[in-house]
Subunit: 190 residues, 2 copies
């Protein structure tokens, strides 16, 4: 059974995640996070000493979540050369279309927001997380018998990041479909 | 001859551009812009009524600049199927490697920062600017005799946006080279 303190901590992490993801890191303040979690600011500071500290907790929680999500996609992919690509972009399209006010990759947005602070802990974590996804993809492409899996995995990352930015800019998911088509052609081309 | 007032206005736009581009919109304050432009805050407010107003001026200046840059790239491209792609990504690589503390596309970053505000004037301008670049590319690809130029132009945009995000995340320009290679393969593939 989770203690009350653990439950409150988790509520705060969820509230911080929602707030950062919706309004960005800089424009979110600690009061808004406390209000969303329905706790006092005093309680918030009993768990986290600063907004930066909360961000670290959110990111480390996110890292576990992202690893679970990759494992989950991995399990559900049937055989066949295109199916991994399709599953990957279908998951992105589903995420973008079912999330109210979808704003793309929280990690990529955080890096853009903290672009002048390359040493920030959030930047370090973003690098690690994107590198993990790229390696995971290379592994899966290799298992599917696709030639030069590391190069193809990098291209998938380029297309996926581009699709998220342009879907957000244009408010148009056609960019996700275009990215999926391009990825399939790249897998087939010499 | 430019009047003193025009000169100060231009100084303020340049200072605001630099500040927004380096630290993002939210974390830049009007005091920092005035200090960078070497004018008093009173002078700044004599020209612009708010930070939002300054952002509008910066973006409209940027729009002209971007149009000139596209025309400039267009003029210098020799014939041949790959040369447009090469020129496009070479220009991106040059920009990323010669700019101190390069942080990618200011417009894309602004959209990420204002992700929860789809009606913001900066978002409208970003959409228009990215659409202009995509159409320009489609026109050039069509002139070069490349089949399905609109689809290929969209793929170039995806790869370019992805390359900027991932170069910033990893601090590694290899992503620009990978995007250029992928673009050339997409142009050749069926």
């Amino acid at each position: 059974m989770r203690s009350k303190s653990e439950k409150v901590r988790r509520q705060l992490i969820d509230a911080a995640y929602q707030s950062f993801w919706q309004s960005g890191y800089t424009r979110t303040n600690v009061d808004a996070i406390a209000a969303r979690a329905r706790v006092t600011k005093r309680t918030l500071y009993g768990h986290f000493r600063s907004k930066d500290n909360l961000l670290e907790a959110v990111l480390s929680h996110y890292e576990e979540f992202a690893a679970q999500r990759l494992a989950h996609i991995g399990e559900r992919i049937p055989g066949g050369r295109d199916s991994l690509i399709e599953a990957f972009f279908a998951q992105l399209a589903r995420w973008a279309s079912t999330t109210p006010r979808w704003t793309g990759s929280g990690l990529s947005r955080l890096v853009m927001e903290l672009a002048d602070l390359p040493g920030h802990p959030a930047r370090v974590m973003a690098r690690r997380s994107k590198a993990t996804t790229e390696s995971w993809l290379a592994g899966r492409l290799g298992e599917a018998g696709i030639a030069r899996p590391r190069e193809r995995a990098r291209e998938l990352m380029l297309l996926m990041e581009g699709a998220m930015v342009l879907t957000l800019i244009h408010g148009n998911q056609a960019y996700i479909g275009a990215a999926a088509q391009a990825a399939k052609r790249l897998i087939k081309s010499k």
